[in-house]
Symmetry: C2
Subunit: 326 residues, 2 copies
């Protein structure tokens, strides 16, 4: 008997960075998913195979690589921790074979870690015969994430669990947003590594040097998120695009854009996108271009031409789901 769960990745539509200072980030699940399959195992170790380039076995905290030696432990450990968190929650002392397939590029701000944690938690729960509520999946996967990252917001776990669109504010937490908008995107991956912590710190330092200016841009971002929600509810594609363009300017102003991101942004806008901006931490990683369906190929080609890797994506209304098979 096996249990499988799939969970979607995510993209931040607007509000990244400003969310650190209390404004709303609007986050959407995308139709790129991870799939985690769990089955029983003879001994009490956790064996993880993946298409992430690594496989290996954890016996307690000791990792033994099977394929893809260097860096494997770092990539697979969060999966192990997610599985272990569920086993601990139900006081099960068993081993598992965990197999992972992902169509979400890693470490570019598309929520692959959150989706992996959520799918792993759901699959292990299902395998144990427990019907985990969505809230329980969020809390268990966020708990697991805490071992890896200090202070996760839980936003990635929530969007991978619920799907659709959510609004997140530091003080108010998560609100699910009903929208009929399809939000057709072309995501452009610059392929450039960035360090989220350094980018967040740089914004904080800029803020200490120029508090009034940065506060006013924060307020502009607050209103921008509000207008974005209004436009989402009425499926006003052009307004959504224009607000994304404004947001990109604000993100450039606070210093988190990057030459490669803006190159992709301009290429997308010039090829039929109604708006484009970086998504996530910035400084590299990905941008998103809101793109009418009939322009997606053109925008993809334009992104490719200026050195990016395009990913066609849209809203995934379905969050995590799981089933038993074989």
């Amino acid at each position: 008997m096996k249990a499988t769960a799939t969970a979607p990745g995510k993209t931040i539509l607007v509000g990244e960075h400003f969310v650190v200072y209390g404004e709303a980030a609007i986050v959407m699940a995308i139709n790129r998913r991870v799939q985690v399959t769990v089955e029983g195992r003879q001994n009490r170790s956790l064996y993880i195979s993946s298409d992430l380039g690594f496989s290996g076995t954890f016996v307690e905290d000791k990792y033994t690589a099977e394929t893809g030696y260097v860096g494997g432990e770092k990539v697979l450990k969060p999966i192990k921790i997610s599985a272990q968190t569920v086993l601990n929650a139900f006081e099960k002392k068993i081993g598992l074979n965990i197999s992972v397939h992902s169509s979400i590029p890693m470490a570019v701000g598309l929520g692959s870690s959150g989706a992996l944690a959520v799918a792993t938690v759901a699959a292990v729960g299902k395998f144990l015969g427990r019907e985990l509520s969505a809230d329980k999946i969020v809390s268990l996967s966020t708990e697991a994430e805490k071992v890896v990252h200090i202070n996760p917001s839980g936003i990635d776990q929530a969007i991978s669990t619920y799907g659709g669109v959510i609004v997140y504010k530091k003080e108010e937490g998560i609100t699910r947003l009903k929208t009929a908008s399809a939000i057709p995107l072309v995501i452009g991956n610059t392929g450039i590594q960035r360090n989220t912590g350094i980018l967040v710190d740089n914004v904080r330092m800029k803020r200490s040097r120029f508090p009034e200016i940065m506060n006013l841009m924060n307020s502009a971002a607050k209103h921008l998120s509000r207008q974005f929600i209004v436009a989402l509810k009425s499926d006003a594609l052009n307004s959504l695009g224009e607000l994304m363009d404004i947001n990109q300017g604000l993100l450039m102003a606070i210093g988190v854009s990057h030459e490669a991101l803006d190159r992709l942004v301009y290429a997308a806008r010039a090829s039929g996108a109604v708006g484009a901006k970086l998504t996530g931490a910035g400084g590299g990683g990905c941008m998103i271009a809101l793109t009418p369906l009939d322009q997606r190929e053109r925008v993809s080609e334009a992104i490719r031409r200026v050195g990016g890797t395009p990913i066609i994506a849209k809203k995934a209304d379905k969050g995590v789901h799981c089933w038993i098979h074989e």
Copy 2:
């Protein structure tokens, strides 16, 4: 006997576009100048020769081209109007030979029109034996400009007359700013034509669609100009650069940047500039990069490599001046 006057061009350091809504623009005279030489003529026509690609004669409003036929009248007429304005002011009915040399690229936001008007007014005044005060030169050249453009702010005429740095606000007019800062720049010309009127209109329309967001960005620009003045007074090069970078983000947010401008901006920043932004109307035209003296060649080369034409420039403390010779 001849009279010659020279006047500097200008660049907007920060505040363009936001100035339309009442915030401060900070404008600097640059060491690129026009030179206008005036001498007597047998008849009452105005003969203008120039290194702008045109020469010809005005008899009243009738233009007869001598060289560079198409477009010559449009280029030379403002010079004729400036000269005529001074002749009229002193009720002189004489002809003049006017010879113009310019090292300011035209129609890219570097104030060539203003400098031409100012130098022409000063040279004609000097030729007539009148000691025109600076204020008189500003008012006569602005009066002349009114024939060509509706509602000139007078800012270009003021900076070409006074030199140095001035702060301009719609409600308060012009304030001269004392600063010891050298403000070493590399200006990058994209070579892309833009239409200032359309750009200003686009901002106005964006403002009507998203009033709160645009108002808050205006307020951010207001504080930015204030901080810029503080940094100018203390010659804080890094702060000036950082504020220029923030300003560029705001200008992108209101929709007046351009792919070519940002390409030059990023190239300059990556090659030693401490800050860079578009200058003037945007949508093409020029960008400026605040660049320590020992980095100017590198930044110039970087701008050239990505398709721009670099112009090394710095603050011109000397405004218009004129002399009699031969």
